[in-house]
Subunit: 203 residues, 2 copies
Amino acid sequence: MAERKRQLVAEELRDAALMLLATRGFDVVTVDDIVAAAGMSRRTFFRYFASKEDVVVRFLADLGADVVAELAARPPAEPPSVALRHALWVPLAACTDHPDHTERARVVVRLILDTPALYARSLEYQIQWRAGLTTELAARHDLDPDADPYPRMAAGMAMLAFDTVLQQWRAGDDEQRLAELTDRAFAVVAPALDGCTASSHAG
Amino acid sequence: MAERKRQLVAEELRDAALMLLATRGFDVVTVDDIVAAAGMSRRTFFRYFASKEDVVVRFLADLGADVVAELAARPPAEPPSVALRHALWVPLAACTDHPDHTERARVVVRLILDTPALYARSLEYQIQWRAGLTTELAARHDLDPDADPYPRMAAGMAMLAFDTVLQQWRAGDDEQRLAELTDRAFAVVAPALDGCTASSHAG
DNA sequence: GCGCCCCTTGACACTCAATGCCATTTCCAG
DNA sequence: CTGGAAATGGCATTGAGTGTCAAGGGGCGC
C-alpha cells in the first residue's frame, strides 16, 4: 500500500532528524543535514513536514485529540479533577507502557523543553488541547465558555499540571514515578477544579 | 542625547509596524513593508528588533520584571491569591489609567491573540514571568521550587488568570470591567492558591 | 573652521527556512 | 508492455535574519 510507504518514509525522516537534533542541537542542524542523513531530497522533507519544528512536535496534535476524546468518555458524574487527570494521563501512559518508548520520549521532551523555538511550537499545540478541553468541560457543566471563566481556567489548570509533570520528569531519574508526579500535580489544583462548580460563579 | 534618539527611532519603527500588522495581518506584511512605511533601511530594523515578532512583544519582558517586583513588595502575610492578584494587576493598570493607552493596548492584545506565532512568542515571555513568580513564591513560603510543585503551579495559575482576563477583555466592550474580570478569574483559582499551603504537600 | 573619533546608517552579500513549478522517476493497473 | 497517477528531485524564488564594510553626521580637541 502506498499509504504504508508514506508512513515509512516519514518515520525514516523523523528518526534521522531526532538523532541529529537531539545530539547536536536544534539550531545548528540544517534541513540539508537531516535529508543528507536520511538519503533524501530537501524538497521531500517539506512534503512530509511543514517545518523543521514540525518533525519534532507533529505527534502532539494526535495526542491532543486523544486527550479530549478521553475526557469526553469519562463518566459525567466524575469530579473535574479526576476526569482531567485521567484524560491527561493518556499521553503519559504511552511512555510508561513500553520501556523503549520511555527513553525516546524523554529525549524528545528534553529537546523540546531546552529549545525555545520548539517549546513555543509545542505551546501552540497545548493551546489547541486547552481549547478542546475547554469546550468539553463547558459541555459537561452546561456553562458558557465565553462568559464563565471556569471552563477555560479548569482546562488551563489541567495543562499546567501536565506541564509541571513534564518539567519534573525531564530532570528526574526513574520513570515509574510519573503517576505519582501526576497525582501530586493534580492534587494542587484539585481544590480549584472541584471546589468551585457552576453555582459559585455563574451569577 | 544619542540614547534619546535611539528610543525615538525605535518608537517610529514600532508604530509603523503596529499600524501595518494590525490592519493587514502579521503574515502578509514583510519587514520591507515596515521599513518602507517608516522610511528606514531593512538592516536598521533588525538593529532595533531581533525579529518581526519582537517588535510586537518586546515590551512584555519589562512588564514581567514589574510583576515580579510587585509580588516581592507585597506584605508576606498576604494570602497568595491576593498578592498575585496585585502583582498581575500592574500591567493591567497601565491600560486603565490612560484611556488612549487602552485602545492601543487592546489592538496589540487582539493582534497577539489572533496570530499563532505572536501568541506563542508571548507565551515564551509568560514563561519567564512564571519563572520569576515561581522563585518569588518559593522564597515567600520557604519551599523548594524543584521538589514541591506548589510554587510553579501557583505561578502558573496566576498567569492563567491573567491570560483568561486578556482573552475575555479582547472580545469585551467596556474597559472599566478589567478589574472585575481579574477578580472573577482569581476567584476561580483562589481555593487552590490559598487552600493548600506548604503543610499539605511538602511531605 | 578643521580634522578626528565614535556611533549610526545603508547597502551588499550570504545562509537558511519554506514554497512553487516542472521534469523525471517509480509503481501499479490494464 | 504501456498509460497514468503519485512520489520524487532539481531549480528558482521569497522572506527572515546576520555579517561586513563603506559612507554620513554630530561632538570635541586643536
